[in-house]
């Protein structure tokens, strides 16, 4: 196999990895906020459920969770879902990352001084207005560094999709390496990940900068 075909084959794997990455970001950023808000619910049962969810997700390996989502429906419930590999991956990643984002959001929300809520309340803002107009913009600015960290980790975590034999770049690298008895595919994969994260870090930095106008 020439280097060119190797790179070409692996590029398609990179596209698959980016699909996992993109869908996970799109799903878990908003879902994490919902989880963070539910954790402050006035119903104790909801708060308890969210706490269990977060501690299970954080306490078990993501790879295990992916396997559970993929094989669980069949082995636990005897369900045969066609084409379940990719959906299972996305569900696994979104559910996992939502828990981490929820904790980041919660920390951000709790770091806003109570005076901001009181000022908004006295001015007559509704609780929803207060959150959307006053609290959330400040939370986003404060959590950006932590979110950047998570997002960069996610780019690398997409490689865990190999555990479901999904043909993303890492799975392909392993296959090609084995069949060609070559280490080159891993070097190519490493470069791909590095470049992807360089781009991600650059974009996140730009977003952070755009909020630099206030302190």
């Amino acid at each position: 196999m020439t280097l060119e075909t190797m790179i070409l084959t692996m590029s398609s794997g990179m596209i698959e990895a980016m699909k996992i990455f993109g869908l996970t970001v799109l799903g878990s950023l908003p879902l994490g906020m919902i989880v963070a808000l539910l954790k402050k619910s006035r119903f104790a049962i909801v708060r308890w459920f969210i706490s269990v969810y977060i501690s299970v997700i954080r306490g078990t390996p993501l790879m295990l969770q992916l396997l559970a989502w993929y094989f669980g429906p069949y082995y636990l419930f005897g369900m045969n879902i066609g084409n379940w590999r990719f959906p299972a991956l996305i569900v696994g990643f979104v559910v996992n990352y939502s828990a981490y984002f929820a904790e980041i959001y919660r920390g951000g929300i709790e770091s806003i001084p109570v005076g901001q809520y009181e000022a908004a309340e006295v001015l007559g803002y509704t609780p929803t207005q207060t959150f959307m107009r006053i609290i959330l913009p400040q939370v986003i600015k404060r959590i950006m560094p932590a979110v950047t960290n998570e997002v960069i980790t996610l780019v690398k975590d997409t490689s865990l999709a190999f555990s479901l034999a999904y043909a993303e770049i890492f799975s392909l690298a392993k296959q090609i390496s084995a069949s060609q008895a070559s280490f080159t595919p891993f070097i190519i994969a490493g470069i791909f990940y590095f470049v992807a994260n360089y781009v991600v870090a650059f974009i996140m930095k730009r977003i952070e900068k755009s909020m630099d106008y206030y302190k």
């Binding site: 005076g115 901001q116 000022a119 309340e121 006295v122 007559g124 509704t126 107009r133 206030y214």
Partner: protein, 252 residues
């Protein structure tokens, strides 16, 4: 009466902070509340502005009851939306300013009038610019709070409260977070508002200011109003031993 509070009771974890306090504020009146820390004066202000819920008693604004005591002696508030309407009657200036850091100075002043009171942007902006001019900081309209000195931030906070066109303005130790040199510029603005007959209640440790500006002074200690009267009466000829002892600290 703009504000009338009757028999206000409030406890925190069994500790009585306000013990059966009654007081009212007439239109155009400037009332100063003085007293040692922990005397309940800030809590009284926070109860008047609904930031704390009273346990018992009545709160009236403009002849309308916001909270009343039911048969069992517990305070019952009007509904949430009703309460929000009451908030348009008053403004509150905090010790820590609490400006919105992500909004420009102008936006701090116009956001609530537009979003809460549904006034037009043009009208809200015109009002805001007038207020900034009055505060002597119209050149800061496009700046952000962190770029201003503490004294300027507090003047913005006063303007933000006034932009809502309240009937009464509360100040919770408005100069306690400021350097002595910045205190003066904030007090000057409050004095100017007093000259324009703005109704105000000021919790303060600035005795000479309280004496010069207020129509009435309340001395609070241990959750009760120990003494009240004109500044001349309270400062010049205090009747209660507790008041004399408190004021003597400031004369040294």
């Amino acid at each position: 009466m703009i504000l009338q509070m009757n028999n206000i009771r409030k406890q925190f974890d069994g500790l009585e902070v306000l013990k059966d306090i009654s007081f009212g504020v007439d239109s155009g009146e400037v009332v100063s509340i003085i007293g040692p820390s922990g005397s309940g004066k800030s809590t009284l202000l926070r109860c008047a502005t609904f930031l704390e819920t009273i346990d018992g008693g009545e709160i009236w604004y403009m002849g309308e009851a916001a909270a009343r005591t039911d048969a069992s002696g517990h305070a019952v508030y009007v509904g949430k939306n009703e309460l929000r309407r009451f908030r348009s009657y008053y403004g509150l200036v905090f010790q820590q300013f609490n400006l919105f850091p992500h909004y420009s100075i102008l936006r701090n002043l116009i956001d609530a009038p537009i979003e809460v009171q549904h006034r037009t942007r043009d009208e809200a902006t015109a009002t805001a610019m007038d207020l900034l001019r009055k505060m002597g900081i119209e050149d800061k309209a496009d700046a952000y709070p962190y770029q201003l000195s503490g004294g300027q931030q507090q003047r913005v906070a006063i303007a933000r409260a006034l932009a809502m066109k309240p009937e009464i303005l509360f100040f919770d130790e408005p100069t306690s977070a400021l350097d002595p040199e910045l205190t003066g510029e904030v007090l000057k603005v409050i004095r100017q508002l007093a000259d324009e007959n703005m109704t105000m209640v000021v919790v303060t440790h600035e005795m000479s200011f309280a004496r010069a500006v207020s129509n009435r002074v309340l001395f609070m200690d241990g959750g009760v109003i120990v003494e009240q009267g004109s500044p001349e009466e309270v400062f010049g000829n205090p009747q209660e031993e507790r008041t004399r002892r408190f004021l003597s600290v400031f004369e040294r």
